[in-house]
């Protein structure tokens, strides 16, 4: 069940945009072979893909690496950098519920995936209504506003 209201076209464009390098969300990939490597995530879609379950880090299923973002930092980044206070609040609720990261990340990933799907749908609907403007112009306009 959706917990987020449908974004406007302008909001959807902001949500789907790539932020500048200096605004990227810091993340870490942990690997027993390589130690910890920094990552800088610049889109919400990249963050969603980066968040991978760690439940299967077990001897039978030796996952090579763990992908980590600070959940509280993620919520703050979504609010302040991406500019989506509603999603930021939803993520913040998960981030501060006292559970471990590995338990939270399923919910973090689910909420982000929902927001991405909503935004993509808004973009598709916009393209259907205004076929002449189906290119990236709205996104450019929103991203620079």
């Amino acid at each position: 069940m959706s917990v987020l209201s449908i974004p406007t076209l302008r909001q959807a464009c902001r949500i789907l945009r790539e932020v500048d390098y200096t605004e990227a969300l810091p993340a870490t990939e942990m690997s027993p072979t390589a130690g910890q490597s920094p990552r800088k995530l610049r889109t919400l879609a990249t963050i969603e893909a980066f968040l991978q379950p760690i439940d299967d880090v077990d001897p039978e299923n030796r996952k090579a690496s763990v992908h980590y973002v600070n959940p509280v930092g993620l919520a703050q980044w979504v609010r302040e950098v991406l500019g989506d206070p509603e999603l930021g609040q939803a993520l913040g609720t998960v981030a501060t519920d006292g559970r471990a990261f590995g338990e939270q990340l399923h919910d973090l990933k689910r909420v982000i995936a929902e927001r991405l799907a909503q935004s993509a749908q808004v973009m598709r609907d916009s393209a259907a209504i205004l076929p002449d403007h189906a290119d990236a112009a709205p996104a450019r306009e929103a991203a620079t506003s």
Partner: protein
């Protein structure tokens, strides 16, 4: 009965293209591997201040008495040492190590090691078939990659017989018969062009990556060494060996395959086999692949042949970029890039640092066509094998930015005016001596301290798996570790011979500047120098501190290491004896670095170690970082993320370490008293002659 030794060391005089025999007995007190190799280097390299490319440099390639036996996770390793090319700003005397079957084949051919001296007048490869040694023309091999080279040599030595078919090695069956291919150690195409990055490669994916020994081989006009043997390894007590092997099996997955443990954490000896730690793309099937005699079998052979025998960092230099470009999934690009790297014979660890740094430089708009660092490399393909291929080719052929990178990563960064800036911010992940950042001096301080006091990243996961990975994985999953911090401290106290001090694993803000971290560092260095680098126990399985199959989660260390060694040699070396010998080897290496110009003032990390905490997101190497700490009178697991090293306190730790070793704290140079106690009077004489003996 034998004692595990073949009895002979092969000295290859490349200048005169002659082979000589050195009796192993002269060096048996060093046991094998690095200790024996360093002792040989000390005797054979008259001027230890020469460059790695100087013909006077000596490279030793060593086995151990356990090589080629059934002792687990030890008998397939080979140790290499000499003056390297990778260290920055000074290319130190250094070491590297690789798995596979080379050391076993060396023993079967009747040799305990190889010492390479001089420089061949023309490109050659060396063909060792049992006791017969010939120098073969390598002009036609010089430009071939590592796989092509091995295929050519296999065909030449086996005279084209089919794999697995019997072949006579010399005239008549008394000369030896074998179904095996020779074990070949080779360099990539024209490796002199990318010397500091050049590895030694054996079979598909075994590499001595660190140190630039591929470049040293190239400087000696040596393309490859091929070894084929038909003998065996005679050991002192076969029954003790079999009993020890069966005992060890109870600590390994192999002894519990029908009912494996459910332990959450990173495992060494007890881990399940195969699959190269899951760095293949979905759908790739693989079977476990082991080095000779190994119970751990950490590598894989794949159904499509891609990524065969590679492991660890071989893949990881490209997996993050692959995943980032492909929606978080590992694709076939990773294995393809890995195979390319192995074929060129380049150091994967350095390439991990290059790609991490590049991802920032690209995003910052610094690297690209027409940018500050101008390149025609296909930046848009970053994460695809097309980029990997273009990058590796540019380095191998000295074109585009590859011409600078081929001289070494820190050298290229210096030329581009970014070394200082980017190691201060941390986006260029080099913490010491020009080597790629691995584990972090700010958190696992003993790892960093051991590396900066030595000459390279120590790559010793002894503490790292049970003390960092296991509690961190549990914390991230909201689980309680099977072994509490208090129980862990007891296990380590019991096993950390000869110090037996539980405070060695205190990672609190006070603990990392205490006597505990000094002892922990010394333990890692002595254990590494002897049990791992000399006896050649594999880092991926040993030391075995915590083992879910062991009684009360206790692993085989320190009982296991001497158990196998003594079964082979017939000696009665204790674990503590080995640690003392490790200390001796460590001090000999230290003396070589002192002769090369080492001083305590140089033993300083790059800027981000002291100035950038992890939570700024610029380096992010230590998020999260759960370790055992002793605070308020009790042990607990706690995240120490966000920490920096305090310069003044760290200098204090260095002073404590120098004093602990009996070195001069002003210079970091060993004193005569210290060296004499270790039986290294000749080394003290040499330092004194150079005016570099420490003052007591």
């Amino acid at each position: 009965m034998g004692n595990g030794y073949a009895g002979k060391i092969l000295k290859l005089d490349l200048t005169n293209l002659t082979a000589e025999v050195i009796q192993t007995s002269k060096y048996e007190s060093w046991v094998g591997g690095h200790g024996m190799g360093s002792a040989l280097f000390w005797d054979l390299c008259e001027d230890k201040t020469v460059k790695g490319t100087d013909p006077k440099n000596v490279v030793t390639i060593m086995s151990s008495p356990l090589s080629g036996t059934v002792a687990p996770s030890v008998s397939g390793r080979t140790e290499v040492q000499g003056i390297g090319l990778q260290g920055f700003p000074i290319p130190w005397y250094t070491r590297s190590n690789f798995g596979g079957r080379f050391s076993a084949m060396l023993k079967y051919a009747g040799w305990d090691g190889i010492a390479v001296v001089g420089k061949a007048p023309r490109p050659v490869w060396v063909n060792v078939v049992n006791s017969k040694v010939t120098f073969e023309e390598a002009k036609d091999l010089w430009g071939l990659d590592t796989w092509e080279t091995q295929e050519e040599i296999w065909a030449s030595v086996t005279k084209g017989r089919q794999d697995g078919a019997w072949g006579e090695l010399t005239a008549g069956r008394d000369g030896g018969r074998s179904t095996q291919r020779p074990a070949v150690l080779t360099i990539g195409p024209n490796a002199e062009r990318f010397a500091p990055l050049a590895s030694l490669i054996h079979d598909a994916g075994n590499g001595a990556g660190q140190g630039g020994f591929g470049g040293v081989f190239a400087s000696k006009n040596l393309k490859a060494v091929s070894v084929l043997g038909t003998g065996g390894v005679e050991i002192a007590d076969p029954q003790a060996m079999m009993e020890a092997r069966l005992w060890a099996q109870q600590y390994a997955y192999a002894g519990h395959a029908d009912n494996p443990n459910t332990y959450v954490g990173m495992q060494g000896m007890s881990a399940p086999p195969g699959n190269a730690i899951r760095m293949y793309s979905d759908g790739v099937k693989s079977r476990p692949q082991a080095c000779v005699g190994c119970l751990r079998s950490c590598r894989g052979r794949t159904h499509n042949g891609s990524g065969n025998e590679s492991s660890c960092i071989d893949f990881h230099w490209f997996t993050p970029q692959d995943k980032q470009a492909h929606g978080g999934f590992i694709t076939a690009n990773t294995a393809a890039a890995t195979d390319l790297l192995q074929r060129y014979g380049m150091n994967a660890s350095t390439f991990m640092a290059i790609t991490l740094w590049f991802q920032d430089l690209i995003a910052m708009g610094v690297l690209g066509a027409g940018k500050e660092i101008d390149t025609k490399l296909p930046i848009g393909q970053f994460g695809n094998v097309e980029f990997a291929a273009a990058l590796l080719k540019s380095i191998a052929e000295n074109t585009d930015i590859g011409a600078d990178l081929a001289k070494g990563l820190p050298q290229a960064a210096t030329k581009w005016g970014r070394y200082e800036k980017d190691t201060n911010s941390g986006i260029l992940p080099i913490q010491e001596w020009g080597y790629a950042h691995h584990y972090d001096a700010r958190t696992e301080t003993e790892w960093g301290l051991a590396s900066i006091l030595g000459e390279r990243d120590i790559n010793g996961h002894d503490f790292d798996f049970p003390l960092y990975w296991t509690p961190t994985l549990n914390a991230m999953q909201g689980k309680t570790p099977d072994v509490s911090a208090e129980e862990l401290a007891k296990i380590f106290k019991k096993k950390l011979a000869p110090f037996h001090d539980e405070m060695m694993i205190d990672y609190s803000d006070e603990g990392i500047y205490s006597e505990g971290v000094v002892k922990a560092t010394a333990w890692l260095l002595y254990y590494g120098r002897f049990w791992k680098n000399s006896v050649l126990y594999c880092d991926w399985a040993w030391a075995d501190f915590v083992n879910p199959y062991g009684p009360n989660y206790e692993g085989m260390t320190p009982e296991g290491e001497p158990k196998f060694l003594n079964a082979v040699t017939g000696g009665d070396m204790s674990f503590e004896d080995g640690m003392e010998l490790g200390r001796k080897i460590w001090n000999m290496d230290r003396a070589i670095w002192i002769l090369q110009g080492r001083h305590r003032d140089q033993e300083v990390f790059t800027g981000y170690t002291y100035d950038v905490p992890s939570n700024g997101g610029q380096t992010s190497f230590e998020l999260p970082y759960t370790l055992p700490v002793y605070e308020d009178g009790k042990w607990e697991y706690k995240s120490v993320a966000g920490r920096t090293l305090d310069r003044k306190k760290f200098e204090g730790v260095k002073t404590m370490f120098y004093e602990f070793e009996g070195w001069d704290p002003k210079t970091g140079w060993p004193t005569r008293e210290c060296l004499q106690k270790l039986g290294l009077s000749e080394v003290a004489d040499e330092l004194e002659k150079a005016g570099k003996l420490g003052v007591a």
